[in-house]
C-alpha cells in the first residue's frame, strides 16, 4: 500500500532525508505525496510526474504509483 517517490537533480540534493515510499492511505494527490515525503515546502517552480507522465500538484495518486519531483528542465 505505498507510492514510490523520487527526487531529481538539485531537488534531490536539497531535500534532507527524503523518503522513497509514502503510505498511499495518507496521500491522494501529488501535493500530499510531497508533504508526506519531506518537511520542506514545495518550491514554486517544481515539476512533477505520475507514472512517467507530466502532471499537476493536484493530480490524484493511488497505491502503486511512482511520483517524481524535479526542477525546471535544462536538457538539450
Amino acid at each position: 500500500m505505498s507510492i514510490t517517490v523520487k527526487f531529481f537533480a538539485s531537488l534531490r540534493e536539497q531535500i534532507a532525508n527524503p523518503v522513497t515510499d509514502v503510505d498511499s492511505a495518507l496521500a491522494s494527490t501529488v501535493a500530499q505525496v510531497w508533504s508526506q515525503a519531506t518537511d520542506a515546502p514545495m518550491p514554486e517552480h517544481v515539476l512533477c510526474s505520475v507514472n512517467l507522465e507530466h502532471c499537476e500538484s493536484n493530480t490524484k495518486v493511488k497505491d502503486g504509483d511512482e511520483v517524481a519531483f524535479f526542477p525546471p528542465i535544462t536538457g538539450g
Binding site: 523520487k6 531529481f8 510526474s49 525546471p72 536538457g75 538539450g76
Partner: protein
C-alpha cells in the same frame, strides 16, 4: 530506434548516417539536423565540465512522444533524437535532432520543434563545473530566441 540516450560521447554524424540506412535512398529530399554542443562558457563564466542527469524511463517516453507529435504535425518520413547523459566536457555533443522529409519546409520546422519540445518537456538536468572547481545546477533553459 528513433530515440537514444547516450551515456558515452557520441558522434552525431555517425548516428545520423547509421539511422539513415533504414530509409530508402531517393525517398527523401530533405534532411534537417541540429547538434547542441557543450560550450566552454555560460552566463559569463568559464565552464570546464558538465554532468547531465535524466529520469530513466520517463525521458525516453517523453522523447518518443515528441517524435510522435512531430509526425502528426508535419509530413515527415522519420526523425531521430540522440541525447547524451553523464559527465561531459566542452566540445562534446549534447544532443542531436534530425528529420527526414520529402520537402524542406517540414524538415526545418519539425527539427526546430523537436529541439524546443525536448528543452521544455524531456527530463534532463545540467550541472556545470566551473573553472574554480565549484558546481552549479543550470536553473532554466533559455527560449529558442536566445
Amino acid at each position: 530506434m528513433p530515440v537514444k540516450i547516450a551515456p558515452k560521447p557520441f558522434n552525431p554524424a555517425a548516428e545520423q548516417a547509421e539511422f539513415e540506412q533504414s530509409l530508402t535512398p531517393g525517398s527523401f529530399g530533405a534532411t534537417a539536423n541540429f547538434v547542441g554542443t557543450m560550450r566552454n562558457y555560460n552566463e559569463g563564466d568559464s565552464v570546464t565540465g558538465m554532468a547531465l542527469e535524466h529520469y530513466p524511463g520517463m525521458t525516453e517516453k517523453e522523447l518518443d512522444a515528441i517524435i510522435d507529435d512531430a509526425k502528426k504535425q508535419w509530413d515527415i518520413l522519420d526523425a531521430l533524437i540522440v541525447h547524451r547523459v553523464g559527465q561531459m566536457h566542452p566540445g562534446d555533443p549534447i544532443v542531436l535532432t534530425a528529420v527526414w522529409s520529402a520537402h524542406r519546409g517540414a524538415a526545418f520546422e519539425a527539427c526546430r520543434f523537436l529541439m524546443e519540445a525536448l528543452k521544455s518537456r524531456a527530463p534532463f538536468w545540467k550541472k556545470e563545473t566551473l573553472a574554480d572547481g565549484k558546481h552549479r545546477w543550470v536553473e532554466r533553459n533559455t527560449s529558442g530566441e536566445a
